[in-house]
Subunit: 478 residues, 2 copies
């Protein structure tokens, strides 16, 4: 049993040191490895497979709304980046610069894309001419680079994987509708597939995207009470269209500017899965996003017939689930620890006695519940167990979030709450950036969003006491 | 009819100017657009969708052989690139250099990956310890950058999309087996899905990959008689393992070096599809790779019931095929031209008279054959037509290649053939690089490969007359 102990002991307890627990999990579950480039991570098979499943699910949803995929160059000429004033100010300080190609210095420096608004705008200015050419609903899956000073696996890395959707529309209304549509798509995906409940809302002026008219966001609460911005959707109005000259002839042959949006999610979502669902034994993956859903662990596998039975079960179950057999020469206890560390939703234990009794033991990763199941009913029961686990994980995450969401009416309470009760704070706000800045300075909490679902808590701003305009979710954030 | 004419006239005839025809097709079929970065292309929806289908088909085949996907950083530190001598010499002259991150110059320059051998080796040196850790069968889908002087869409661009597989094995035999296995996988995919027959063989020392022990290749013949290297698979032996210190303990607890392979295909394959199957009306896509297989064109679509019938057909046919209805307000003739330009394998024409007769007209893109089909049999007949088209396209490509493959016995004939008969040349070779260099200088033809299927044409080298070692395919190449 020495081996099992070693694997489990290697993880720091999450209550003791959440940051270290997180780092331990991403390494021990073999999701990532560090590379020789500062701030760049290697996504190992177990980590990349989660991203592949996210891509598959989200891409299907995109395409159902008419989105088409494209691929844009990874380089942006300096002059193109500079076309939209707010945008370049937002990104120029944190980009990587290519200054030499082959053996010669470049005449114009190139930026490794931190985001591709400028390239999409350049394309749209070339291919959008008539109202018939609209809408354009393009998306790309790629990596982007932002030169970060401090990095953390999945949450903030120099290079990261994402998708960026960029659309162009004839009217402001249509652009706004698409902005909200994509935010809702993200939120539904996160709730239904990742089992993470989201607060949907609008970012304040201070927190919105560089160049956007408005930015919408989905915000989740991690197990340690910190918030994670999990996806954003921006309405650009016609600002970029004016900077890049994206014009079309309408039905009356009048020249009009297009209205644009962009929206994205990143590998950061994998960080959210870890920090919402994980426990002291490692990762816990919601069944709908788990690359392997069922791990069959043969007990006394050298006994005649055991491995054969395990393979036969895999064969049968693979029609409905993603199944693997752990037939390595490790001990069952070691295999259990590994399956738990990797967050595989259920494990099926089957040994000689089980085979004799025509049954097996199913163990849920989240509750550790052990359920003895007749082999005749295994497929049906596994379906029920995985469905229940998916549902329970969402409910537990919602309960945790709600239990760590505090309604606050005055500034003293605000400060104490930030200090003593990690979580979301709901409080009223006057709408002035000065109060956001003061709150951040006093508490390090930031405005997460102005939720779509508004409540009136008090009449006055929690910070300055002037008349309140809106209710805001506040919190410390990753 | 003015519109239709304009679209068709815009393409240069392929017999007149093949290079211009190619450029016209990639633009008019809306596969690519040029970007504001020299040599970088934009893959538009019609182009990217072909790549997505290639990815899906190839990735499934990879996974069936045990390959797992990962993602490695796009940057390589200069010192890491320099670890394997031949490798750095091969790539250093053609890479893009990042010299500044954020506002500060970097202490060590970074290369934007031209290929990722060095990163995979660095990872393997960290995670491979025991024979139990082998084999490692990793692959990634990403883009790479090579600073090319002259570029052409899909065939040679500064940035391009590809997959790169990198494996590590316990023995030399296993590495060789994997190298050949992946080459065969590529060839089968190209023949069965892209309808492009391939010559499989080994590259000469001169043409092999920088750092490889041996390089295998699949070579195809384009319509203009030029060759296209379409995929490669490299056996590295233990050269990289020695340079990077990738060692494992074998079953006897002895330290051994790993044996490695790498293998890749790129968006270049889309260029091959265009140049093997295209005609003067545009692109012709093999049914198995076409993102849209069936375009339904309603005739007199404003008449009651026509559009409804078209939508109903789409609904029904979508169970088996990728189907679209062109319900735009363009004329049928214009729609026909567009469907032909985009290479959509079949079009289904349906108008009021057809509906009355419970039939429609199916038109094959490759042969332009018009087939009247009862609506009751449409699904079955379409399946047959698409299967026949797939088969016929491969056969035509094979016939064209064989008709343009010339067996040559002496050097005068060699030179005349290169000049007058574009195609593959089969001729004997002594094995000396001097002859390859002379042939290239005299004719611009290069050795394409030493095919697995050898023939003995003469006893002597076609160039120098010394004893011949092997039969080689020669040709001008893209």
């Amino acid at each position: 049993m020495a081996n099992e102990k070693k694997l489990v002991e290697a993880i720091t307890s999450m209550e003791e040191d959440f940051a270290q627990w997180y780092t331990d999990v991403v390494k021990k579950a073999e999701l990532i490895d560090y590379s020789s480039v500062r701030g760049c991570m290697i996504l190992r098979p177990a980590g990349y497979a989660i991203w592949e499943k996210i891509q598959k699910e989200v891409d299907r949803r995109f395409k159902e709304t008419g989105v088409e995929n494209v691929y844009m160059p990874m380089f942006i000429p300096e002059s193109l980046l500079q076309k939209e004033k707010d945008h370049v100010e937002g990104f120029a300080p944190e980009v990587a610069w290519v200054t030499q190609g082959g053996l010669e210095p470049l005449q114009e420096r190139l930026v490794v894309r931190p985001t591709s608004e400028t390239l999409f705008c350049d394309l749209y200015s070339n291919i959008v001419h008539s109202y018939r050419d609209l809408p354009k609903l393009y998306n790309q899956w790629c990596s982007v680079v932002r030169w970060e000073k401090t990095t953390r696996p999945f949450l903030r890395t120099t290079e990261f994987l994402w998708q960026e959707g960029h659309t162009a529309h004839a009217t402001a209304e249509e652009a706004e509708e698409r902005t909200v549509q994509m935010l809702n798509l993200y939120a539904d995906f996160c709730e239904q597939v990742l089992a993470i409940p989201m607060i949907k809302g609008r970012k304040t002026e201070k927190e919105k995207f560089a160049g956007a008219e408005s930015t919408y966001t989905i915000e989740a609460l991690m197990h340690d009470g910190k918030a994670l911005q999990s996806g954003t959707s921006h309405n650009f109005g016609d600002g970029f269209a004016k900077a890049f000259g994206i014009q079309y002839s309408d039905k009356n042959n009048q020249l009009q500017y297009a209205h644009q949006t962009s929206w994205g999610i990143t590998t950061r979502l994998i960080g959210a899965i870890i920090m919402v669902h994980g426990d002291d034994s490692g990762l816990v993956l919601p069944p709908r996003i788990a690359p392997i859903q069922v791990m069959i662990v043969p007990i006394m596998q050298k006994k005649e017939g055991v491995l054969e039975k395990a393979y036969a079960l895999k064969e049968e179950l693979s029609k409905c689930f993603d199944v693997k057999v752990d037939d390595s020469d490790k001990s069952p206890g070691w295999k259990f620890s590994e399956q738990e560390m990797r967050g595989i939703p259920v494990r099926v234990e089957i040994g000689p006695k089980d085979i004799e009794a025509n049954q097996c033991v199913v163990v849920r990763r989240d509750t550790r519940e052990k359920i003895t199941v007749s082999l005749d009913e295994l497929q049906m029961k596994l379906g029920e167990i995985l469905d229940a686990m998916q549902k329970d994980m969402l409910e537990r995450a919602r309960t945790h979030r709600d239990a760590h969401t505090y309604t606050v009416t005055n500034y003293e309470e605000f400060k104490t709450t930030v200090k003593e009760k990690p979580g979301f704070i709901k409080a009223m706000w006057c709408g002035e950036e000065a109060c956001e800045l003061k709150i951040k300075e006093d508490t390090t909490a930031t405005s997460r969003c102005m939720p779509f679902e508004q409540e009136k808590i008090t009449d006055t701003c929690v910070c300055c006491g002037k008349p309140a305009k809106t209710m805001v979710y506040w919190g410390k954030a990753y």
